[in-house]
């Protein structure tokens, strides 16, 4: 079934949008609906889908938020490759038909919306936060001290901290496709991100991933790094973590120095007085 908005200008360029439709819990099965959508040079796939939702079929389910590749909500398979819909321009795809499908390796909720519960469970299991013995969360909140890190220290993990948890790497991973207990590239790369951070003192990080379904089930297909919209290289993080576990790389991490600083409240009060 092809649906198009006849009210549009006939000179406008149009793209055929093939959208996967499925509603979990209903026996209607899955099918594709095709829509003809006008587009311009800067129109993204998300724009086109929102056009469909506004003017053609409001029942199309999509998840989105920021529209600027920051929130990681609008991940979907576009022409067979996991991409962010808000970060993919129609003009760049250079095809007459764009196929939008839900992310593979995620349970489908409805149409293009998938269930991220398992993905976030894996992420949480990695303890994705700094664990430092001598500093509690309360101390950090007071802002009375800071950790010194050199630019070299930051470089070791910086790219991995750009992860927006969009799930594209997880959906592209062939191991996740067969092994649901495998944490996936996102979680493992985050484990490396905290392992390489000089502020982190946890001794259990390597044990968490040293499991039957842990880091060793990564066969270095590299598809995770290829699809990351933020330029993170999860495959690199996984291989670096493996090299530490095999003893090829030595963990020469020097804990970051704790530096006493004036509390934020004091700084605020003193600056307020001077004004």
């Amino acid at each position: 079934m092809i649906m198009s908005n006849t009210a549009e200008n006939k000179n406008e360029k149009k793209i055929r949008l093939k959208v996967y439709r499925e509603n979990r819990g209903q026996d209607s099965g899955s099918h594709y609906d095709t829509f003809e959508v006008p587009y311009k040079k800067w129109t993204t796939v998300l724009d086109a889908l929102l056009y469909v939702k506004s003017y053609m079929d409001p029942s199309v389910a999509i998840r989105y938020s920021c529209r600027m590749a920051s929130c990681g909500s609008c991940g979907m398979k576009i022409n067979g490759i996991p991409k962010l819909a808000c970060y993919t321009k129609i003009s760049e795809l250079e095809t007459s038909t764009i196929e939008c499908e839900p992310l593979p390796n995620f349970p489908i909720i409805r149409d293009l919306v998938t269930d991220f519960s398992r993905f976030f469970d894996h992420h949480k299991s990695m303890h994705p936060y700094i664990e430092a013995k001598e500093s509690s969360v309360d101390d950090t909140r007071k802002g009375t001290f800071s950790f010194y890190q050199s630019p070299e220290d930051v470089d070791k993990y910086l790219q991995f901290s750009y992860c927006i948890k969009c799930g594209l790497c997880y959906s592209a991973c062939p191991t996740v496709g067969t092994d649901v207990n495998f944490p996936g590239p996102q979680a493992l790369a985050q484990q490396y991100r905290y392992f390489a951070d000089t502020r982190d003192e946890s001794a259990k990080r390597l044990d968490i991933v040293d499991d039957r379904h842990g880091i060793w089930r990564c066969h270095f297909a590299g598809s995770c790094s290829k699809v990351c919209p933020k330029g993170v290289d999860p495959a690199l993080g996984i291989q670096l973590l493996k090299s530490y576990m095999l003893g090829i790389s030595k963990n020469d991490k020097v804990p970051a120095k704790k530096i006493e600083v004036e509390s934020i409240d004091n700084r605020y009060n003193s600056s307020a007085k001077t004004e």
């Binding site: 067969t178 495998f182 944490p183 499991d211 842990g214 089930r217």
Partner: protein, 118 residues
């Protein structure tokens, strides 16, 4: 997440990588030893029995048997672990692959010993 096992997965994988790399060298050595005579001659009964009497050749054969068995059966274990996930399946896969590995090494070693005439 981590399960209680005799060996950590990282230790198993170290063994996996070492046996894999070592197998390349011993198999290469084995092929080179076969190449010193024409291929047809290398398959003759007397030549093969004579090889089994050569202690260096026998040691290489035994090394190939052990290295390939350990590497291969661990590889099968990994494939099967990725195929299905449940505690019972994983334990069954581990027991079956280790048993098959020990069985194959024992049977192969017996063949080498018998052919050697020890």
């Amino acid at each position: 997440m981590a399960s209680r096992t005799i060996l950590k997965e990282s230790q198993i994988m170290k063994i996996h990588y070492i046996t894999g790399i070592a197998a390349i060298f011993v198999v290469a050595l084995h092929i080179m030893m076969r190449l010193v005579v024409p291929f047809e001659q290398s398959l003759e009964y007397d030549y093969i029995i004579a090889n089994y009497k050569n202690i260096v050749y026998v040691l290489i054969l035994e090394a190939i048997l052990v290295l390939i068995s350990v590497h291969g059966f661990n590889g099968i274990r990994i494939i099967l672990l990725e195929l299905r996930q449940s505690r019972a399946w994983e334990n069954m896969v581990t027991v079956v692959t280790i048993s098959a590995m020990i069985g194959l090494i024992a049977y192969g070693t017996r063949t080498i010993i018998l052919a050697n005439g020890l």
